[in-house]
């Protein structure tokens, strides 16, 4: 593939795609070239009951009628039913909730609505949109964002006067619910609660959010309001189930989109094998960079999604070196991920909308409905982990009705290789289910305490679990609650909402402090004003891997070396450096079974179980790897305390007879290989990231006394992955066999059982042997 980046030829996306179709070298990497035909719109008239001003204003904006799904959502909310709207990106989901809200306020000025968005950035957009709409419609509507950035001076006004309060779950959790007496007007008159991007409320975060919503409903009850919930979601397998978990009531699912769609080309790209023996493919990062550079050089506005923070920064560095200044404007390509400051993010979003930013490299932060306008192309570096995310990210390109393109570039990870070799998995299969476990005891007890702080608990009340009285009595015994007159009152000095973050199950993050002094060449940039400044934060679990001393941490494509990690006080002090390597820490894992919930013997004596475990992790050393070739050029020791994680796990132990007579080394290799294979494929059954699952193998487990593979939830208390795996064992093993058979390597590679050079020459063969016995 040739990329001519120095001299931009302004060619259209059609021409580029045409060129790629005829580029043989490129076509060898393509496993599927799918063209999706455009789809016409299906309309419905404005409902008659809708306030006249709303229809008139929409007509002035050129909206003569509604899409069919919008009309359906309006009718359902009108009937007082909770709704979840599941339609693609850019199908006009916003109107599904803005119209009922505007109508309610137009008819009754005291009506209130609460909008909950998963991120701050999203709420910024909604604010602008809603304000625009209400001005057009001549309806007096006060809309405010209430989050951590809201100045204290205006908070009081928002509490009493805001018709629509836009916030996020975190602020609801710590800033609104525990202070509900300051929000009497809102809670007394709450008509609608909007839950946007419902599919993001899954896993630990979702389990927390479901409990925050339980608290919200308790408070509404206290003030006598019964709001209707309007949710929107990306396509997932179980929108109704997920919404039911959050709302705990019946929900109407609206999933037939009436919106039109432009033609779209989806390309699945598998980088060529470089070393057949080692099963090493050309880096997805480099392949993706070439595609993105080709698009950018022709002026096609492009978004590239990387899988991790590190990859975002690497790709940004690579692309920027392709478009040097001053020939190219400095903000042609920007990075975007969690950890950037809000002001930076806003600037980037603006730049994308007005076209001054032509390319953006992002983690999944931009997968959500942040308004960045219509991009023409998306490049996905690696399979995003779920079918739902894949569609979301691909949907970032082509929000309007014209041609767009999306490229999925596979890495050599097992899931990626599976997906790129079976593109129908994405194209035809229904996406994953969003799992939440609101009754996870860790999560529930915490929110029950918050709820008791907000309003005393009636002894007969239920909060999620049937065992609420047991939990209440226990907390009373502990002195956290105090029982009097049939009610449990909060009786502790602490402010419970502040003791846990919703985003992680463990609540303390390590703050990253940049101590680099002023650098003349970057005067005016936000980073170097001569003072130490906080540039981001990372949870402790990730910190032990990313922020150990001497680690190279990447931020806005700058390399920062960790000079000191103050583990006690959760601070990492970093300083900018220029080196040609990055670092990778190694994690040692030990596991102890505390409690076995369920056990079952599968085919041929393979024993399966799931239960509660205690996992201890320790980082001991890190490696230095060169930037482009990933060669090992050094290592160092890490001195950090052991981390403990109490969670749930699935485990599978082999019957003695299967490995009878095998040398210990062979069992070790086979077990590690099978573990890698299952760990790699398990995310296909769970709406999760491979990092949400931990893997440990033991040649002789103290618990089962047999060779055992553990796949555990990385969340304290677990959120249901292990039980799901326990029940999906048969299809998991079937898919593992299928994947190993079709893997192109000879002796084992990172895409299947792991690299033979690291594990042992017989790894592939021994795993295949094991699987044939399973």
């Amino acid at each position: 593939m040739r990329t001519n980046v120095r001299f931009p030829a302004r060619v259209s996306l059609e021409q580029i795609l045409d060129g790629l179709l005829r580029d043989e070298e490129f076509q060898q990497m393509v496993t599927r070239w799918e063209t999706i035909a455009p789809r016409p719109a299906r309309y419905a008239p404005f409902p008659e009951w809708l306030d006249g001003r709303i229809g008139a204003a929409l007509r002035r904006r050129g909206i003569q009628q509604l899409y069919s799904h919008q009309a359906a959502a309006l009718d359902a909310t009108r009937a007082g039913k909770h709704v979840v709207v599941v339609t693609p990106t850019a199908s006009g989901k916003t109107l599904c909730y803005n119209l009922p809200v505007l109508d309610a306020i137009a008819k009754d000025h005291t009506s209130r609505a609460l909008y909950i968005f998963p991120t701050k950035a999203l709420s910024q957009d909604q604010l602008a949109e809603l304000e625009g709409e209400s001005t057009d419609m001549d309806i007096e509507l006060k809309t405010y964002t209430y989050d951590g950035d809201t100045p204290p001076a205006v908070r009081a006004a928002i509490r009493s006067a805001g018709h629509v309060v836009i916030t996020n779950p975190d602020m609801l959790h710590t800033g609104i619910l525990p202070h509900h007496t300051k929000w009497v007007k809102l809670f007394e008159n709450l008509r609608y609660v909007v839950l946007d991007e419902l599919h993001t409320y899954r896993g630990v975060f979702g389990s927390h959010v479901a409990n925050v919503l339980r608290r919200l409903r308790r408070i509404c009850e206290f003030y006598g309001s019964h709001p209707v919930f309007i949710c929107t979601s990306a396509t997932i397998a179980n929108p109704e189930e997920l919404a039911r978990h959050h709302i705990e009531d019946d929900v109407v699912v609206i999933d037939e989109s009436g919106a039109p769609r432009g033609a779209k080309v989806l390309v699945f790209v598998n980088p060529p094998v470089v070393n057949r023996n080692l099963g090493v493919r050309k880096s997805a990062l480099l392949t993706g960079r070439d595609i993105a550079a080709t698009l950018l050089a022709s002026g096609v506005q492009t978004i590239a999604f990387a899988r991790s923070r590190v990859q975002t920064e690497l790709l940004l560095t690579y692309l920027r070196s392709r478009f040097p200044q001053p020939q190219w404007p400095s903000n042609l390509i920007r990075g975007y991920r969690g950890g950037y400051l809000p002001s930076e993010r806003r600037a980037i979003e603006r730049g994308l909308r007005d076209g001054s930013v032509r390319g953006v490299v992002s983690t999944n932060a931009l997968e959500l409905g942040i308004d960045i306008g219509a991009l023409q192309a998306a490049v996905l570096l690696g399979y995003p982990g779920t079918v739902a995310s894949t569609w979301q990210q691909m949907g970032r390109a082509g929000r309007r009705e014209d041609l767009s393109a999306a490229f999925l570039v596979a890495t050599s990870s097992p899931t990626d290789q599976y997906v790129v070799q079976h593109p129908e998995y994405v194209l035809e299969r229904s996406p994953e289910a969003g799992l939440v476990n609101p009754d996870n005891l860790h999560v529930l007890v915490h929110h029950l305490k918050c709820a008791a702080f907000e309003i005393p608990f009636d002894a007969r009340e239920r909060f999620g679990t049937e065992d609420t009285p047991g939990v209440l009595a226990y907390l009373d015994e502990q002195g956290v609650l105090h029982e009097a007159g049939g009610k449990y009152h909060w009786s502790d000095q602490a402010f419970p909402a502040e003791t846990t973050s919703l985003r992680t199950a463990t609540n303390d993050n390590v703050v990253i402090v940049d101590t680099t002094g002023p650098a003349p060449r970057t005067v005016g940039s936000e980073y170097h004003d001569g003072k130490a400044r906080v540039i981001g934060e990372i949870d402790r679990f990730a910190a032990q891997v990313l922020l150990h001393e001497q680690a190279i941490y990447l931020h806005e494509s700058k390399q920062l070396q960790v000079e000191r990690l103050d583990w006690e006080n959760a601070k990492a002090y970093v300083r900018e450096v220029k080196v040609d390597y990055y670092t990778q820490a190694e994690l040692a894992v030990r596991i102890r079974v505390i409690d076995e919930f369920e056990r079952h013997t599968a085919n041929r004596g393979f024993d399966l179980a799931h239960g509660e475990v205690l996992v201890s992790t320790l980082t001991t050393i890190f490696k230095k790897l060169t930037m482009y070739t990933h060669e090992n050029v050094g290592w160092g020791k890490i001195h950090l305390p052991e981390q403990e994680l109490q969670t749930t796990s699935f485990w599978c132990s082999l019957p003695e007879r299967v490995v009878a007579g095998w040398p210990k080394e062979r069992i070790e290799v086979a077990l590690a290989g099978l573990g890698n294979l299952l760990h790699g494929l398990a995310p296909l059954f769970l709406m999760c990231d491979p990092h949400d699952l931990g893997l440990a193998v033991e040649v002789r487990s103290p618990h089962t006394e047999r060779p055992t593979i553990y796949l555990f939830d990385m969340t304290p208390g677990g959120i249901g992955f292990s039980e799901r795996l326990f029940r999906s064992y048969e299809p998991l093993i079937a898919r593992a066999r299928e994947h190993l058979d079709s893997c192109g390597c000879r002796t084992g590679c990172p895409s299947c059982v792991g690299p033979a050079y690291a594990l042992g020459a017989d790894v592939r063969e021994s795993v295949a042997h094991l699987l044939s016995l399973a």
Binding site: F453, G479, H482, A484, H489, W490, S491, D492, A494, F495
Partner: protein, 386 residues
């Protein structure tokens, strides 16, 4: 499956460890308290403890303790005596309309189950005081069990309803928001007592922070009245003392808290009196000796439009103060001098400060422009009238 109980225990214990609260919050606090020596009660307190015991054992949801203290015993000179001058009240940190009489002011202080605020922080003791028949009437309302808050709040509501002004120490940001929350939780209504509010924290801070370092009530008692608290329960231990009391119902546990609250209210009234004394002295030309205090009063007088008093205070602060303070007040003092047509003196002062090389570049810029303006003005004055 593990016993639910032990699993929650692990979670609760971990939360506690994480927040470094071991031994303070919840059950663990019980031990801390029982091993701590209970402060001995002061004069007259045993009877109070008896009354308290009676109230609690009779199953009443709350008790009221009343004391009456003569104004002379409090050493009050201004506050509570004579008419209530609106300008004087303004110097006591007033927000809102000035009350007409001292009797209209409700002095209050709360004791709560925590400092964090929010709906789960209860007010279990509300001490109020007001002037009546030449005495200060101090009434403390103690809630025996947070489960009976509603009756408690209803009674207090009836009692404080006649008052439209209140006085507190840091009540604007602490006591009143908490009371407002309790009113919504118990009665779903608004509390009206704070339409006018004297928050003494602010004047006290302006007058004395520089001199005494801290302006906590305890510190002010020591510094202004030379009375140290010897057996006072530290504020941080009060929530746990109450939680302990909730379980044990032993009057000896809560007595020190009642004592603490009573002292806080009495001190509040006496501190207000001291502020008033300083204001009246300055009005009659006796500005405070301590320069930062004089400066603070000067500004306060400027706000109330008492410009002669402001002048006297600026002058005193300028002569007694150090150079940084002089720089801080020079521009305002020069304006007062100018108003009194003493342009010469204003100029001399500004020029001296500039010659000494004092002040920030920004201040010097302002000072220089002032000097230019004053110089022009002086020439106009010197020119014979034509």
């Amino acid at each position: 499956m593990n016993d639910l109980r032990s699993r929650i225990a692990a979670i609760v214990e971990r939360d506690r460890r994480r927040h470094g609260e071991a031994g303070v919050s919840g059950g663990a606090g019980t031990e801390t308290l029982s091993t701590r020596e209970t402060p001995s009660l002061r004069d007259g307190d045993p009877s109070r403890a008896g009354a308290l015991g009676a109230g609690a054992s009779a199953g009443l949801p709350f008790s009221v303790f009343e004391q009456r203290i003569a104004l002379d015993d409090l050493g009050l000179e201004i506050v509570g005596r004579g008419a209530c001058d609106a300008r004087l009240i303004a110097h006591l940190g007033l927000k809102g309309d000035a009350p007409a009489r001292w009797q209209d002011v409700l002095w209050l202080d709360t004791e709560t189950t925590g400092l964090a605020g929010g709906t789960g922080t209860y007010v279990f003791l509300l001490g109020i005081a007001y002037f009546a028949e030449g005495e200060l009437v101090l009434r403390q309302h103690l809630l025996h069990d947070i489960g009976y808050e509603r009756a408690f709040v209803e009674t207090i509501q009836a009692e404080i309803e006649p008052f439209r002004a209140c006085a507190s120490y840091n009540g604007k940001s602490f006591d009143l928001p908490l009371l407002r929350t309790r009113w919504v939780m118990a009665l779903r209504s608004e509390i009206a007592v704070d339409e006018s509010h004297l928050d003494l924290l602010h004047p006290a801070r302006r007058l004395w922070r520089d001199r005494f370092g801290s302006t906590g009530l305890k510190q002010l008692e020591e510094s202004l009245f030379d009375e140290g608290r010897t057996s006072d329960i530290p504020g941080a231990l009060i929530p746990d003392a109450y939680f302990h009391y909730l379980r044990k119902r032993d009057p000896a546990i809560i007595a020190p808290v009642l004592e603490h609250n009573a002292r806080d209210i009495v001190s509040l009234v006496r501190v207000a009196d001291r502020v008033a004394v300083a204001v009246l002295a300055a009005r009659s030309g006796r500005a405070p000796d301590h320069a930062p205090a004089a400066y603070a009063l000067a500004r306060s007088f400027e706000r109330t439009g008492e410009l002669d008093a402001a002048f006297a205070c600026y002058e005193s602060a300028f002569y007694d103060g150090d150079n940084p303070l002089r720089v801080k007040l020079a521009l305002a003092f020069a304006r007062q001098l100018e108003r009194r047509a003493d342009v010469q003196r204003a100029l001399r002062m500004m020029e001296t400060l500039l010659e000494l090389g004092l002040g920030s570049p920004r201040w010097r810029e302002q000072a220089e422009s002032r000097v230019r303006r004053l110089t022009k003005k002086r020439w106009r004055h010197l020119k014979p009238a034509s």
